[in-house]
Symmetry: C2
Subunit: 211 residues, 2 copies
């Protein structure tokens, strides 16, 4: 079992590391970080780089594909070679997954047409324009396609998929090992819960957050 | 304002990336990943490397120090040069913080003596042996020392500290931007909540998890 987590310039680090730290603890699985070129890839803030150990062409047939989001996805949406890799990988994958605006990349490759899917709350409208059926849920499974909402939701997705593949007890063991008993100091994690002026603030900046 | 996040061989990636993705969004702050040598450092699974852009000696006086945990901390606890750096950085820091077993490093440097602090639930006893007063809370603030429980708790710590420094509304905005509205698919994230046989399983493996 091979899990490929895709990196690219200006990805969002937690989008990738959430699934890595949970789903990556699947017994017997190899997790590999992949990108168009191997070596360090800078995350969106510029302050952090993660290493891609293999190029996309070296990993043509992963069992699980994980596509994180981030401002850099807008350039990748027009990258024919990347979208081709995604379609080819998807043709033989057991699960094709995304976190945050990573679902826009799956959608741009034509993989989410007519499927229920989610994305960062600021990107749900755009997801719909690619023929997906956007929902506001945190983790959405439609067939073998599992999409998660913004950034931190990749942890919930990772545990969900781990449970589906390795069983509930293994997923619970990983949850306990990473002590995932969240206690956010505020209750502003979704547009339904956050104060309206903060939702408006982020909407006004969405061009900078998403591209 | 400078935030230094420490890396070392066999750290736990989410310990570092949780605070990076939240606290790192402090307005006007520079976040820098530091290690004894600059370049890529492998996380505990071996499947992921994060880049340290600067050496410890290049960053002698950060305003905020963040020390993640991971199996590699046991070697660092006996590394006099690292503990010296930590004590020197702490002498001028505004906040000295840790995630998971990172608190064992703060404690080994003598910084938590007589202070309330936390760690990964499997490491609380060891933390007490260094003269700290361990608590089972998820995020513990004692003066300028902020310690967080296992792995994923660094997200809660990052938002807590962000609120203390930049105000509640900024912390809420970051929470909304990273869509931190956790919905774990299981309720096994602490030893109080997880099934007893899984707690016992991890206790029996704690030697491999912690060192």
């Amino acid at each position: 079992m091979q899990i490929a987590i895709v990196l690219y310039d200006r990805f969002t680090a937690l989008d990738a590391v959430g699934p890595y730290e949970t789903l990556g603890r699947l017994p017997g699985a190899e997790t590999v970080f992949v990108a168009e070129r191997s070596g360090p890839l800078r995350a969106d803030t510029g302050a952090l780089a993660l290493t891609a150990d293999r190029t996309l062409s070296e990993v043509p047939g992963p069992d699980i594909v994980v596509v994180p989001g981030g401002p850099g996805q807008s350039a990748l949406m027009e990258d024919a070679a990347f979208l081709d890799w995604l379609r080819t990988a998807d043709a033989t994958s057991t699960w094709t997954t995304s976190v945050c605006t990573g679902s826009l990349l799956l959608a741009a490759a034509g993989l989410l047409r007519g499927r229920r899917a989610t994305s960062h709350w600021l990107a749900l409208d755009q997801l719909g324009r690619f023929g997906a059926e956007p929902t506001g849920e945190r983790v959405v499974t439609d067939g073998k396609y599992v999409t998660a909402a913004g950034v931190s939701s990749g942890i919930d997705m990772g545990l969900t998929l781990l449970g589906a593949i390795a069983g509930d007890d293994h997923a619970r063991t990983v949850q306990l090992a990473v002590e995932y008993d969240p206690q956010p100091p505020y209750d502003a994690g979704s547009p339904e819960k956050a104060p309206a002026h903060l939702v408006d603030l982020l909407r006004s900046r969405s061009r900078f957050i998403l591209t």
